[in-house]
């Protein structure tokens, strides 16, 4: 190999290397810019927000306003938290029992049940919400947290079952059989062996479901109007007659997304697994 060729080879590598880097940085920039822009707007005064300014004096005023009258975002925050939390509280134990059984035993109609659970995830939410709207109206639980929790279970359960099943599949069965032989009943095995070993997985699934319930929009839009309104629906409050109140919208946006970012980062490794429900690993 001549020296000139070596040099051109190195140049070529350097060129591709820097192009590679530039493209990745550009992708990061595009991914983050809407979030950064919202975050900046949240700290701008209502004057600054209507200008394309990068330099401004940050203020916490917007956060104060959204929690005050007439917006009372605190109430929506409370609703969102309670609805998402109680949904998870019901979903995870129920899903864990089912996931354990699906993972460890052969059941009659097992494939059919699993496909059914998978399929419910793909049913358009508008189909499900219509009968619930009618039923809740008749039962008088429209615009209550209870109603919202019930329908949220519909979206959360399939994710929870498939995700936890994935975690339990990963626990070596040897350990459980050892415990059975060592003198445990099946229930003791689940309590003493499976639950401690699956605990990180259960927490992950719980967080994942919390995020889904927190971000849920269509059910809350249709089934709530005043008392049980959640944060994402609360965003509509800031559409005033004179146009959108962007600084307040942004502040509310921050309150909606920052806790979810933190939670998502905690469970980042398992996010993909949860969303694809066992089709990719």
């Amino acid at each position: 190999m001549t020296e000139a060729r070596m040099l051109s080879g190195r140049r070529k590598k350097q060129f591709w290397g820097s192009l590679h880097l530039v493209l990745i940085l550009a992708a990061i920039f595009v991914m983050l810019i809407p979030i950064i822009w919202i975050a900046m707007a949240a700290f701008k005064t209502h004057v600054d927000v209507y200008q394309l300014k990068l330099q401004f004096t940050p203020t916490l005023e917007n956060f104060k306003i959204v929690f005050d009258a007439p917006y009372f975002l605190g109430h929506k925050l409370m609703n969102s938290t309670i609805v998402a939390f109680v949904t998870v509280l019901f979903a995870i134990p129920i899903a864990t029992c089912a996931a354990y059984s699906f993972s460890r035993f052969r059941l009659r109609g097992e494939t059919m049940m699993l496909v059914m659970i998978l399929a419910t995830q793909f049913v358009p939410a508008v189909v499900i919400v219509l009968p619930f709207f009618v039923m809740f109206r008749d039962l008088g639980i429209l615009d209550t947290r209870l109603g919202l929790i019930l329908v949220n279970l519909a979206i959360v359960m399939p994710f929870a079952i498939w995700m936890i099943k994935g975690f339990i599949d990963g626990i070596p069965i040897d350990t459980e059989e050892a415990a059975l032989v060592d003198g445990s009943t099946r229930i003791q095995v689940i309590r003493n062996i499976v639950l401690p070993m699956a605990a990180p997985g259960l927490v992950t699934a719980g967080i994942f479901c919390f995020i889904i319930a927190w971000n849920e929009f269509l059910f809350a839009l249709i089934l709530t109007s005043k008392d049980a309104v959640t944060l994402p629906i609360g965003l509509a409050l800031f559409k005033a007659e004179e146009g959108d109140l962007w600084n307040l919208l942004a502040a509310a946006g921050i309150i909606i997304m920052v806790p979810m970012f933190v939670l998502a980062l905690i469970i980042q490794k398992h996010f993909v697994q949860g969303m694809t429900m066992g089709a990719v690993r």
Binding site: E177, A178, A179, L180, V181, D182
Partner: protein
């Protein structure tokens, strides 16, 4: 203390038959090895004894009691698993103590018994560690200690050494042998490794396709194989199996070229089996027949000479100072007391 008996046990999943109408008696205090290739039903047989799998039909007795409907915990057994099955969230001490705790052994008794079991497998200094912080051999010892901490009626061991590296496996094998001699407890041991089987067993059951092919002491299995499968499965390097016919007390190889004195009467479709160690390498013209050398391998402690005749090959084991060249013609001499004849079609042993 108790024996185990399996009476006409069958295990099938749909059309697939894992264990096929099998009966087996394991005597009290006996060390019985179930040996066979993967998928032969040996592990399934053991798991049915443990109660981790229900037989499709047949009866299982431990001692005098039919245990078919007993949960694993009620069968008074201890088991060592292939992947050890340690509880990763418990320390070594708690792992070993678990069978005692869950059976409600008084607290004051637990510590001394755990310590004694740990001592027997030389784990005393690791009691406070979690399994993650142990090497493969140490994990294996924890699994053993957990099995011996109680005095169960039966030990079950499912390929316990297969996850260890070759050197450690030899060490642990000796320790296991020593331990089982001390404990004097009925043991069923599953393996696909014939050396483990030969060294550990009082009796070996060689299995294939869900059936026991031969049940006997290691000597019987090695020196008196019941059929072609057992003959070919046991021994390393494997037994030579040569196709041919017997005519008037002469064995004629399938190519029809070579002849040796063996067998009696007339019969077609014969497989002649002879172990490499029962063959000796002699000068051309002085053995049973002459062959050109196909391959010469020196293993250090001995040499293997493979000769070719027609389309068949024969391997003989020679002393470690023997040297042969490829294509050199050598004589091969067989020990007439250790020649076996099998039916090539059915695989059964023939008395010829």
């Amino acid at each position: 203390m108790a024996g185990i008996s399996l009476k006409n046990i069958t295990k099938s999943w749909g059309a697939f038959v894992g264990v096929d109408n099998q009966s087996l008696e394991v005597h009290d205090k006996e060390f019985l090895v179930l040996l066979g290739p993967s998928g032969c039903g040996k592990t399934t047989t053991m798991r049915m004894i443990a109660g981790l799998e229900d037989p499709t039909s047949g009866e299982i007795l431990i001692g005098e009691r039919i245990v078919n409907d007993d949960l694993p915990k009620d069968r008074d057994i201890a088991m060592v698993f292939q992947n050890y099955g340690l509880y990763p969230h418990m320390t070594v001490f708690d792992n070993i103590a678990y069978p005692l705790k869950v059976r409600g052994t008084p607290k004051s008794e637990i510590a001394p018994r755990v310590n004694k079991a740990a001592e027997q497998v030389e784990l005393t200094e690791f009691l406070h560690r979690k399994p993650k912080a142990l090497s493969g051999g140490q994990r294996q010892r924890v699994a053993l200690a957990r099995a011996i901490v109680r005095t169960p009626q039966v030990f079950l061991m499912d390929e316990p050494l297969s996850n260890l590296d070759a050197k450690l496996r030899v060490t642990m094998r000796a320790e296991l042998k020593h331990l089982s001699h001390q404990m004097q407890i009925t043991t069923v041991y599953v393996t696909h490794d014939q050396i483990e089987a030969m060294t550990l067993a009082d009796r070996i059951a060689v299995m294939k396709s869900g059936r026991i092919q031969q049940l006997g002491t290691p000597e019987e299995i090695y020196n008196d194989p019941a059929n072609l499968f057992v003959a070919s499965f046991i021994g390393s390097p494997a037994m030579n199996l040569i196709h041919g016919t017997v005519k008037d007390g002469q064995f004629i190889t399938a190519g029809g070229r070579d002849v040796m004195k063996a067998g009696k009467g007339n019969r077609d479709n014969i497989v002649l089996g002879v172990r490499p160690e029962d063959l000796s390498i002699v000068d051309a013209g002085t053995g049973d027949f002459d062959v050109p050398v196909y391959a010469f391998e020196n293993t250090g402690e001995s040499v293997l000479v493979t000769g070719q005749f027609g389309k068949q090959r024969i391997t003989a084991k020679g002393g470690r100072h023997v040297r042969k060249e490829i294509d050199e013609v050598v004589g091969i001499k067989a020990d007439p007391d250790h020649i076996y004849m099998f039916d090539a079609k059915g695989g059964g042993r023939l008395d010829l």
